[in-house]
């Protein structure tokens, strides 16, 4: 049986972490961290080769006109576009992450999900973002969800596996905690909040709950798994709060791209604007930053 979660106190705790005041030097350090832990993402039906190439260029050099801006950790895209990204990012430290397993709904057979995963890896993906079977989870078929993660992990081999819980569809923090425990036990390298495709995406209390699961799992087994928050993270303020949550629940050791990621698209522009503001004392307009 999983640890239970009390919603009222959890939300109070998350709310108090969101009130940490991150200013001046810590804001600059936080912006750096957030960029270097970012999975710069495009997951649209209208994604094209050109779109992915410009995303990759930005991933590598987010703001050429500003000093000391790191590259992001990875780009996150659909499997069919992996070869394009791989080509654009060859020889760079930026990883290519591919969604798989019938993203975002996961409503397909295990055979299709495994084939989806294998194709992405064959095309050169460094990391796989899979979705869990929420239908099976909510129906109480936990063993099925668990076995499926194990199967995908086996297909991944050494490739990093992020397991998307889609917390916005799980209905309670108890379920978030249970799904986290289950994914970690099944061998997930990362657990990830959301696909970004449903109404509710990453939230602070959900991130706290997932961090607690990761912390308890590491204490129990010695293995350190990572957290990825995704969906709806648009502002520097939100990103700073996620850093605070990870720092105060898991510890500073988790604040590195191997153990923490933020999946986002427009967030990068806000981080760069805030960064320039910290350096110069004033805000530049949106047009002073490259789009994408």
């Amino acid at each position: 049986m999983s640890v239970t979660v009390d919603a009222v106190m959890l939300e109070a705790r998350a709310g108090s972490l969101a009130k940490r005041s991150i200013k001046t030097t810590s804001k600059i350090a936080g912006i750096h961290l957030a960029i270097s832990c970012m999975d710069l993402t495009t997951l649209e039906g209208k994604d094209s080769e050109g779109r992915v190439r410009s995303l990759c260029a930005k991933a590598l050099h987010p703001a050429p006109h500003l000093p000391n801006v790191p590259n992001v950790a990875a780009v996150c895209i659909y499997p069919n576009l992996v070869p394009i990204a791989k080509d654009a990012l060859r020889g760079t430290p930026v990883k290519v992450a591919s969604v798989a397993t019938a993203f975002p709904s996961g409503q397909s057979s295990l055979e299709v999900k495994l084939a989806d995963t294998e194709n992405a890896i064959a095309a050169g993906a460094d990391e796989i973002d899979m979705v869990i079977d929420r239908g099976a989870f909510l129906a109480g078929r936990y063993a099925e969800v668990y076995e499926e993660i194990i199967a995908v992990k086996r297909a991944c081999g050494p490739i990093h596996l992020k397991v998307i819980l889609e917390t916005g569809e799980l209905g309670s923090y108890d379920a978030v905690r249970r799904a986290s425990d289950l994914a970690l036990e099944a061998g997930a390298d990362f657990i990830k909040t959301s696909t970004g495709k449903v109404g509710t995406n990453a939230t602070f209390p959900v991130a706290v709950t997932m961090c607690e699961a990761i912390r308890d799992y590491a204490r129990r087994t010695g293995r350190r798994a990572g957290l990825k928050v995704a969906g709806g993270v648009r502002t520097t303020k939100q990103a700073m709060t996620y850093l605070v949550i990870v720092k105060e629940t898991l510890g500073e050791g988790w604040l590195q791209p191997d153990l923490f990621r933020i999946g986002a698209s427009s967030l990068l522009d806000d981080l760069l604007m805030q960064y320039e503001k910290e350096l110069t004392g004033h805000y530049a307009g949106r047009d002073y930053f490259p789009m994408d």
Partner: protein
């Protein structure tokens, strides 16, 4: 190396502070007849903030006379709806000046700015708003056949742990019911009460309705024994509470006492454990443990004792102790040198009695009165640290095996102000709560307050209630 360390984030709002404060009597600032002043000190820096008038016998008498005059001349006769307007005005002024009041409270008392900003000041305003609404509806607080009538002049003595809030708890219902007041703030934290006197004056509260007399215990004792005071409301130590009750015996004065506590905080094995840890932290480290309803006696089901200790040990390392004005500070300064000495004395008694001390490891600031977040394991019911109120950031952890034992141990104390229960099972929460002899029982939460909710103690934690309709009735003759 730290990769994401929080930079200092001090609150920059300035609170207007005068070098010297007189007494607020009959709507005017006056010098003390005693001619004496005392310093109020910032406990985080040990620097003097201001000189404050010392109210002696003659000053207390002047204040009581002013209150009596205002009672007969204006306040008891005023239309209740008009009384409400003044109270609303005070509530709004507190809201408008909330940030500077928060800074003042933190400077004078040492509590973290995030607590004075998010708890003390907003809740103070909420009490004035709540009781302002009652002023013209008092008959609804009465039983059949009772007429709402004020009592007269109330002497109110408030402590240093929540200076403005405790004043608000007492002033708002007293004013709403038509009483006039002599308020005596604590010696170490007079500044927000004096700021409130300013607010009252600016709100055009008729002179004498609120008088503020600063001083020490002797000032309070003079107020208590003044013949023309009709009601005493006191929040503070059980020892002083008993002295007050002895002093007014036979005088016919009405009395409410809100005194000490040694609250049991019960954690069952089926509790939502991470939230229980947050509840424990809030219960004992909120306001450095200077809380009469603090969850200072943790009763943990034996099977999860070790797990609780591991988690709590880790958790207290993340508490940020230091400059109370920093927005990221979780544990501020101990209110006074005297209180710090008392905490240290009880902690060494715990060590001598064989309990095991665990503390957050952090550097204490070079100046100021600070004590790290601490807890004791291996505590026995007979230890002083399990029986006496420490009133500091020090928790005593005991264990139990069955729900019956939990209840028995929880009630085995002379106090009975608050209690807490953590279990994911709702029925167990309700079942246990009914057996706890405490004025408030928090289930899966701690330190929740609302103006509409009565607060007060059993046994040596006092009698009478503050808050809600119950708190209103304490200021009505019936």
């Amino acid at each position: 190396m730290a990769i994401f360390e929080y930079a200092p984030a001090p609150e920059t709002t300035k609170a207007p502070i005068r070098e010297e404060y007189g007494l607020f009597i009959d709507g005017k600032w006056t010098s003390p007849r005693s001619g004496q002043y005392f310093d109020t000190v910032n406990p985080a820096t040990e620097e003097t903030i201001a000189r404050v008038a010392y109210g002696a016998n003659e000053d207390v008498d002047r204040a009581v006379r002013a209150a009596r005059k205002a009672y007969e001349k204006y306040w008891r006769k005023m239309r209740p709806a008009d009384r409400a307007k003044y109270i609303y005005r005070i509530a709004r002024a507190i809201t408008e000046r909330s940030r500077e009041l928060a800074v003042l409270e933190t400077l004078d008392g040492g509590k973290p700015i995030k607590e004075s900003r998010d708890f003390d000041i907003p809740l103070s305003a909420a009490h004035f708003f709540y009781y302002a609404g009652w002023a013209d509806k008092l008959e609804w607080a009465m039983r059949a056949g009772e007429e709402p009538r004020p009592i007269g002049v109330a002497g109110q003595i408030v402590p240093w742990n929540f200076p403005l809030l405790m004043a608000a708890w007492k002033l708002a219902p007293a004013l709403a019911c038509g009483n006039t007041i002599v308020l005596k703030p604590a010696e170490t934290t007079p500044l927000t009460a004096l700021a409130l006197a300013h607010i009252a004056a600016e709100a055009d509260l008729p002179p004498g309705v609120l008088n503020v007399i600063t001083g020490d215990g002797a000032t309070g004792a003079t107020l208590v024994s003044h013949a023309d005071v009709d009601k005493i409301a006191f929040t503070g130590s059980t020892e002083v509470g008993k002295a007050i009750q002895r002093a007014i015996a036979g005088s016919g004065k009405r009395l409410t006492l809100e005194l000490g506590g040694k609250a049991a905080h019960i954690v069952f094995a089926d509790a939502p454990i991470d939230q229980a840890i947050e509840g424990i932290v809030n219960g004992i480290y909120f306001n450095q443990g200077h809380v009469c309803c603090a969850g200072s006696r943790l009763l943990v089901e034996e099977s999860i004792h070790d797990e609780i200790v591991v988690r709590l040990t880790d958790r207290i390392q993340t508490l940020r102790l230091g400059n109370p004005l920093d927005k990221n500070t979780d544990v501020g300064a101990i209110n006074s040198k005297m209180q710090l000495d008392k905490i240290k004395e009880l902690v060494s008694s715990g060590i001598n009695e064989g309990a095991v001390l665990v503390q957050q490891s952090c550097d204490l600031p070079a100046r100021g009165y600070f004590f790290p977040a601490s807890f004791f394991t291996n505590v026995q019911q007979s230890h002083r640290i399990a029986r006496e109120e420490i009133f500091g950031p020090v928790l005593s952890i005991l264990t139990f095996r069955t729900p019956e034992e939990a209840v028995e141990k929880a009630n085995n104390t002379p106090y009975g102000l608050s209690a807490g229960i953590w279990t994911d099972k709702g029925s167990k929460n309700m079942y246990i709560a009914q057996y706890l002899r405490a004025g408030v029982v928090w289930c899966n939460t701690f330190n929740q307050f609302d103006p509409s909710s009565p607060f007060g103690g059993y046994r040596e934690s006092g009698f009478g209630r503050e808050g809600g309709v119950h708190g209103l009735r304490e200021y009505l003759a019936h």
